[in-house]
């Protein structure tokens, strides 16, 4: 049983239209079942409107399913008595860096979670020190968040979640508002946390290059899971990904086109080196 388990999740956004006096229903999730293994790095890809953000918000009880159940560490998110334990276990990082930082100083923001949990003062400091260290922001601990770059702010947000000692972190499009450097910073930090601390990571994104090193990639479209496999499996189906309005890295696209033209190139090329290594023998280049 995975640390995160979704069973037949259905979620509808209902909006009451005052003028026409009827309800507008948006079926954001139409029956999603997933089992996420502890310690794994799972990416959920999808275009805007595919249901991926809704799925993220169901993970820690911000939204409750219209039908179906979400289990975090075998606790139901819909159980009121478990709600705070669920949130301690499954931390969440949001898209807008500014709108999730509460403290006026970095270290105070990181301590916000433990403060809410009633952790004794001394231990709060220990957790804050450790979390800042884990995301590489110790040098900035006394700064105002306003002086940080987008990537740095997101790292502070991640530290704030880590200070709660969760078993898993759900990141809802954490890089959507960042520049390329910031994006790299954040993804690198998250991978490190997954590797070193064994934290389960659920990364929601639409940037393909961020999921290359994931253990598992899930693609969503129209409220359903439409693809589920390793990055290599998923990336090799370039035309299908394009159908779901997703982009692939240029190398993958190039490899796919060359393969379609008859060249003998393996499936699911993800990096420049892989492409070059596969082309060299075919085109008569030198070995590295």
């Amino acid at each position: 049983m995975g640390i995160i388990r979704a069973v037949n999740l259905i979620f509808d956004y209902i909006r009451h239209d005052e003028e026409e006096d009827k309800d507008e229903i948006n079926h954001a999730l139409r029956g999603v079942s997933l089992d996420i293994k502890e310690g794994s790095f799972v990416a959920i890809l999808g275009h805007n409107g595919s249901g991926k953000s809704t799925f993220a918000k169901l993970m820690n009880g911000i939204l409750l399913p219209s039908e179906g159940t979400v289990y975090i560490s075998n606790m139901k998110t819909s159980d009121e008595e478990h709600l705070w334990d669920v949130r301690k276990t499954a931390g969440m990082v949001f898209q807008n860096p500014d709108n999730q930082i509460i403290g006026n100083i970095v270290e105070e923001d990181v301590g916000f979670g433990p403060e809410n949990m009633g952790v004794p003062t001394e231990e709060i400091w220990a957790r804050v020190d450790k979390s800042l260290e884990a995301v590489g922001m110790t040098a900035y601990r006394l700064q105002s968040p306003n002086k940080l770059s987008g990537g740095q702010k997101q790292r502070v947000a991640i530290a704030g979640v880590m200070a709660m000692k969760p078993k898993c972190i759900v990141l809802d499009e954490p890089t959507a508002m960042l520049d390329p450097n910031g994006r790299r910073e954040v993804i690198r930090t998250v991978h490190e946390l997954n590797r070193k601390e064994g934290i389960t990571v659920l990364l929601i994104t639409h940037y393909m290059e961020e999921v290359i090193d994931a253990d598992r990639v899930i693609v969503m479209d129209g409220g359903h899971v439409v693809m589920d496999g390793t990055p290599r499996d998923v990336f090799s189906r370039v035309k299908e990904l394009k159908k779901y309005s997703l982009d692939v890295p240029q190398v993958t696209e190039l490899a796919d086109e060359l393969k379609a033209a008859g060249m003998d190139i393996p499936d699911g090329i993800l990096t420049i080196d892989e492409l070059v290594d596969s082309l060299v023998p075919i085109l008569g280049g030198k070995e590295a």
Binding site: M263, V276, L279, V280, G284
Partner: protein, 304 residues
């Protein structure tokens, strides 16, 4: 239409200990009908530069000539300049405020003091250009999707009928499809409406595909100015200033290092594909002269 930027400097905190150059001795000429990409890391001055072009920011020293006339001369109408040089900010949907889409798009032409009829004509035309039909006119802008909101905001600037359109990171926060839609729209505006376009962006790959000229900024200074191909030849220097060439550039250089001599100016997937395929044909034909390739696909007939 021409814009000449001469020795432009913008200094924050002049004559204090906090003195900092946001823009340093920038010289640039923008010609009619160009499609320019303006690239730089965060803090490079690219957004600051665009805000000088429509007079929102004033230079500390230097000059800007619009159609040969200095915008800093006595009595120059900045308001009129802003009708000619349209600026779409990052996340432009944050500026929407009217009750319905149509009224919001009318805001710009209204400020230009045009007749009611002309205002409405322009708003309708602008909305048509961005692909929003009449069914959207009466909707509240706040109920639209992110991509639609953005198009309403762009229409709001287009309704002023600018000669130059500057877009600051128009694809920020959009997913791949949203990105393609917006960039496709911008390209259409350039090709069909003959607008001069300045596209500020982070993404080298987007920019390489659409623009004919690339200006690279670093720490307030202009460091490169040329066609995308010319600029990407300096990919190693681009890296030192925190930017990268499109991934394809790296593929090509890696292949060249291994003796596969593709044209080093290749920057798009299509160009790379065509070059590799023709190299492959030549190679297999010389290696095995009697074996023709079966799966021709989109290739021309193998000539051996």
């Amino acid at each position: 239409m021409s814009i000449e930027i001469k020795h432009l400097n913008h200094i924050y905190g002049e004559n204090t200990i906090f003195e900092q150059y946001a823009l340093k001795d920038v010289n640039l000429t923008i010609h009619d009908g160009e499609f320019i990409g303006l690239i730089g890391h965060t803090g490079s001055g690219k957004s600051t530069l665009t805000q000088h072009l429509n007079g929102l920011l004033k230079a500390s020293s230097g000059d800007i000539l619009y159609n040969g006339e200095s915008i800093y001369r006595e009595g120059y109408s900045m308001k009129e300049l802003r009708s000619k040089v349209g600026l779409v900010f990052q996340y432009p949907e944050h500026q929407l405020f009217e009750v319905d889409v149509f009224s919001d798009v009318c805001f710009g032409p209204k400020n230009q003091g045009l007749s009611q009829q002309e205002i409405e004509n322009r708003a309708a035309e602008a909305l048509r250009l961005v692909g929003l039909d009449e069914s959207f006119y009466k909707q509240s802008p706040f109920e639209l999707s992110g991509g639609q909101k953005r198009r309403v905001a762009i229409a709001g600037v287009l309704a002023m009928k600018p000669e130059v359109l500057i877009l600051d990171e128009p694809t920020a926060g959009l997913d791949p499809k949203g990105r393609d839609d917006i960039l496709g729209l911008v390209k259409k505006l350039h090709d069909e409406q003959k607008m001069t376009i300045i596209l500020v962006s982070h993404s080298m790959e987007d920019v390489a595909k659409y623009v004919s000229r690339l200006v690279v900024m670093n720490h307030g200074e202009k460091v490169f100015d040329g066609t995308p191909k010319e600029v990407f030849r300096h990919y190693k220097e681009l890296e030192t200033i925190g930017l990268a060439a499109p991934q394809i550039t790296y593929v090509v250089h890696a292949l060249r290092e291994r003796g596969i001599l593709l044209d080093q100016d290749i920057t798009t997937v299509e160009e790379a594909r065509d070059a590799i395929l023709s190299l492959w044909k030549k190679h297999t034909c010389t290696a095995q002269p009697h074996e023709h390739q079966e799966n021709a696909g989109q290739m021309e007939e193998t000539k051996c």
